[in-house]
Amino acid sequence: MSPAPAPGEEERRRDRILRFVLPFVVLGVLIVLWHGVVIYWELPPFELPGPGLVFTTLISDWPVLSRSLAITLITTMLGFLLAAIGGIGLAILFNQSRFVEYSFYPYAVILQVTPVVAIAPLLLIYMPQQLAVLSCAWIVAFFPVLANTTLGLNSVDRNLADLFRLYGATRMQVLWELKLPGALPHILTGLRIAGGLSLIGAVVAEIAAGSSGVESGLAYRIVESGYRLNIPRMFAALVLLSISGIVIFFALSLLSHLLLRRWHESALVEEF
């Protein structure tokens, strides 16, 4: 806290730099190795394209890939948003009425434990493709939000609850002033998990959907490129999916940090 340099200050700074730099060093080494392997064994691009070729493909195929990226990302975002709204909304409903909770919670669990890969083909029969893909993203992503929010809403400090009762708080006041703020760390944990999962859900559904038209996401591009033995494009699409996942994860972590830094223990670690 104090501006004076503490004895461990220098060491800690070095630790932080290392933590940031080392993953990139590993990445660099892997790319060089990859490149070396391709050159040394003279592998043709349809067996294993080198990193350079993947990169140039990423640029040359950008018009196709960017459109697919946009489609996958839009599906992911929509799935995530609906999962957030649905998960939090349902958790609030469960929290307010035990009957609703008892009636529907088992089905939320069933929806979660049934592998989405198995549900996707079925959804594709009954829904237009876009909607089916979106539904898959939603199904996978909403449960962690629901489960975590429920946990958060139920772990209210008992003394604080008594205090609210003492001053005659209404149900709404208890929900808005006590339960939801208290559940925020849990809700954010749920959202962080849901962000990654909605991407997975979208990808799984796209793969299940296969070839059926113009509006095709990144996962479809991967399958399609596989059929055509366009391996560099497969890699390029995969790289884009990975980057999307990383960006989503960091964006949600940042959101969580910004919302919790003033008060929650989990955000305390950042404060050296």
Binding site: D157, D162, L163, R165, L166, Y167, P181, L184
Partner: protein
């Protein structure tokens, strides 16, 4: 202002917390409930506030001090602050919950000032020491200007230095504000230092073992804490407590 008559409280799990508990409370006095852990002291406070209903027995409010019109301040053993809200927002909470919006800022600022928290209004609970958190908790209990302040072992978790200072501040507040205070404690020394009257309770099921007046005049300060009179009172109370605990002690 209030009488508890023949109160009995049995919890759903069969534990009898209180049996045949009688107590009277006079306007403006400082009373301590002293007893071993688990003797139902806290339950008495919860029954007074209405957070818990007695299994049998009556609460008799005297005169205009009906429970409906009665304003309580309650201080828990832990500070029980909302970690996501600043000190000021924590202190103003009771006014907000009661829907009292006019004057809310002034009342909040007064309460903060009374406990020396004005500078800390925008801090979050995490940024405060244990003693400061407890001050915030007391400020919150006072913000509605209650007539009755109920405190459930508020200082038990604090270090001795902080505890003594808060004891003194509490006495100062009591004398300047003229509220009725009921303090639950298991500390003989604290109860003697603070109160006019000590109600010694028996182990579970709790009832009143004896009542001891502490007639030493106020203001009491560090001189009183080190006086022979204080030591004598403490011995008297400690002996009563030992007898209340009976063969268990």
């Amino acid at each position: 202002m209030l009488a508890l008559r023949n109160i009995k409280k049995t919890f759903p799990n069969g534990v009898v917390a209180l049996a045949g508990f009688d107590m009277e409370l006079r306007q403006g006095e400082f009373v301590s409930l002293l007893g071993p852990s688990g003797c139902g002291k806290s339950t008495v406070l919860r029954i007074i506030t209405g957070l818990t209903e007695p299994t049998s027995g009556r609460l008799e409010w005297v005169g205009s001090s009906q429970r409906g019109t009665q304003r309580f301040g309650f201080v828990f053993q832990e500070p029980t602050l909302m970690p996501w809200a600043s000190v000021a927002r924590n202190v103003t909470l009771p006014l907000k919950l009661e829907g009292r919006h006019e004057n809310a800022d002034k009342l909040t600022n007064d309460a903060l000032a009374r406990l020396g928290l004005s500078e800390f209004a925008d801090k979050y609970p995490r940024e405060l020491s244990g003693g400061m958190k407890m001050r915030a908790s007391i400020a919150r209990a006072l913000v509605t200007e209650p007539t009755l302040l109920l405190m459930d072992e508020p200082f038990a978790a604090l270090d001795e230095i902080t505890r003594f200072r808060l004891n003194n501040d509490l006495l100062g507040l009591w004398q300047s504000l003229g509220k009725t205070v009921v303090l639950v404690t298991h500390s003989v020394f604290e109860s003697v230092y603070l109160s006019q009257r000590i109600i010694v309770m028996t182990p579970r099921p709790g009832r009143v073992f004896t009542e001891l007046p502490i007639n030493s005049p106020y203001p009491r300060d560090e001189r009183f804490r080190t006086s022979a009179e204080y030591a004598a009172c403490c011995r008297r109370v400690a002996e009563a407590l030992a007898r209340a605990m009976g063969d268990e002690a």
